[in-house]
């Protein structure tokens, strides 16, 4: 039982990390409508930034996050402005491959600049662990988990209640009409991409204390993040949280009780099974409005 609880807690904490990485992707995928294969590389960039600030200025990740997040916001906007925006009208598949090119580029740029070394941010506070009822967890992971919750709640609020959120949802649905009724579409795409990238940066910074930093550090997360977003439902932040937690729990429980070598298999199989039952994801709305007179 205590093994089960420990595995479950570990799984949920891991799920928090997945959710954290997925919320940014959810914005980019759900609003900007880009399957961003460079997502993991955004995480990787933030991890490197965290590492370098820590090694150069001994800056704690929990401080550098306030520098890195805005920087990555700008980075996301620049990307949107100069690479993605000019091809807003080309087919979605073409956009996929721009992001793929970007992913290859960023990964290898990191290799060119920093070499293949595996680096670690050593941050004692994040590594300290607490034990409650025989179940232990480190502060670093708990923080990531809590921030994931907060971010999801904040984004949920933003998307539902604020004007920005409404505009973003409108954009996600029909950007041409949004432009027609006077919404500065490009500006909001910049915002969405910036926001998505900034969220991703937060994820990168927060996992840096317990993950190694190397050129491929983010790549392993890309597919997982997609799985989480699709599983939870496009554009649905709560979905990403639930999806992340579900997959995290599946991963550790299957790993603990069946075989760790199969834990990722289990994650993908669960993903496929859930999609079969709910092709729009757990919280995805039904998309067939076409016959109702929309579009």
């Amino acid at each position: 039982m205590s093994l089960f609880m420990q595995a479950l807690v570990a799984g949920l904490l891991l799920g928090g990390v997945y959710a954290l990485i997925a919320v940014g992707l959810n914005l980019i995928f759900g609003v900007v409508k880009i399957i961003n294969f460079a997502h993991g590389e955004f995480v990787m960039m933030a991890m490197y930034a965290t590492f370098w600030m820590w090694s150069a200025w001994n800056l704690s990740p929990y401080l550098s996050i306030f520098i890195i997040t805005p920087l990555m916001f700008v980075f996301g906007m620049v990307l949107q402005r100069f690479i993605l925006q000019p091809m807003q009208n080309s087919s979605p598949t073409m956009k996929i491959f721009v992001t793929l090119g970007l992913s290859i580029l960023l990964q290898n740029l990191a290799l060119v600049l920093f070499g293949g070394q595996f680096r670690s941010t050593q941050f004692p506070w994040g590594e300290k662990s607490v034990t409650v009822l025989g179940i232990s967890a480190t502060y670093g992971r708990i923080t990531a988990f809590v921030v994931a919750l907060v971010l999801v709640a904040a984004l949920f609020y933003i998307m539902k209640k604020t004007l920005i959120g409404k505009v973003l949802r409108a954009l996600a649905e029909d950007r041409e009409t949004a432009g027609l009724i006077g919404i500065p579409v490009k500006k909001y795409y910049l915002v969405a991409m910036g926001l998505g990238t900034a969220m991703t940066a937060i994820a990168g910074v927060l996992i840096a204390p317990f993950h190694s930093v190397f050129p491929l550090a983010g790549a392993h997360f890309t597919l997982l993040a997609f799985v989480v977003v699709v599983l939870g439902g496009l554009g649905n932040m709560v979905g990403s949280l639930v999806g992340g937690l579900l997959l995290g729990a599946v991963e550790t429980l299957v790993g603990t009780y069946i075989d760790p070598a199969l834990q990722l298999v289990a994650v993908f199989v669960v993903f496929i099974i859930v999609l079969l039952a709910r092709p729009q994801g757990i919280f995805g709305g039904s998309a067939s409005n076409a016959e109702v007179g929309l579009k």
Partner: protein
């Protein structure tokens, strides 16, 4: 032999909280044209979807040409002879108008050559022969509607479901098109048409069915129906 082509018995369909179709029955005979009118959201298109198999009814049955087709999928129904158009037109992008029409023709006829010829004829018949080589997405709404009709006709239907194909035509153009509808019927195709242009519906329909909130509120000969106070209240509005 029984002359009934389509027999819909008490079908219902609910979407979440909305009872889109609530127990509608209908018998349509060979060679008949029935007009279907009703307020927006009355459930007309949903009713079409139940007949054409885009959705399955929650209850009730659909019989076509003597067979129960309630559980048959769309494609099979189309093969049985139910052709439909979509209210929200759906031309195949990336294909020319002629190619659009070839798609259904190729279902039965494996030869691309004959399909191409037949498509040209059909388009000519709908007086859009000149558009045959244009990309389908470059047409205006009204043109797209005609392509939609051509495509439905190309399935070789016994029953044609027309969902607001006259919308977007001006009065003059409607007058041009109506005889075509009659001509199709004269070839032995039964027609069920949704239209908001009451004068047009009255002109070609043998009978009219009025839906409101998913139920039939009136049914009968065109003249009877338009004078029905319930129809006037729910649909036509008072003449001023």
């Amino acid at each position: 032999m029984d002359n009934t082509l389509l027999k819909v018995d008490n079908v219902s369909k609910r979407f979440g909280g909305v009872q889109a179709v609530g127990g509608v029955s209908l018998e349509l005979e060979h060679g008949e044209i029935i007009g279907l009118i009703g307020a927006n959201g009355a459930g007309k298109t949903s009713f079409f979807n139940l007949i054409s198999g885009m959705h399955f009814p929650d209850s009730g049955t659909v019989e076509f040409d003597g067979d129960d087709i309630t559980r048959l999928d769309t494609a099979s129904r189309a093969r049985c002879g139910i052709g439909r158009t979509f209210q929200v037109v759906r031309p195949f992008k990336g294909m020319t108008v002629a190619e659009n029409v070839m798609v259904p023709l190729l279902v039965n006829d494996a030869s691309v050559k004959t399909a191409r010829k037949r498509a040209a004829e059909l388009l000519e018949e709908l007086s859009i022969g000149g558009l045959a080589r244009k990309p389908a997405e470059s047409l205006t709404l009204a043109q797209r509607k005609r392509v939609e009709v051509a495509r439905a006709l190309a399935t070789g239907p016994k029953l044609l479901l027309l969902d607001e194909v006259l919308a977007g035509l001006n009065s003059r153009e409607v007058i041009d098109v109506l005889p075509f509808v009659a001509k199709v019927r004269d070839r032995g195709v039964s027609i069920l048409m949704i239209e908001h242009l009451v004068s047009a519906v009255m002109e070609v329909s043998d009978r009219i069915l009025v839906l409101d909130h998913g139920v039939v509120i009136s049914e009968g000969l065109p003249n009877e129906v338009v004078n029905d106070p319930k129809v006037i209240a729910a649909y036509l509005g008072k003449e001023d």
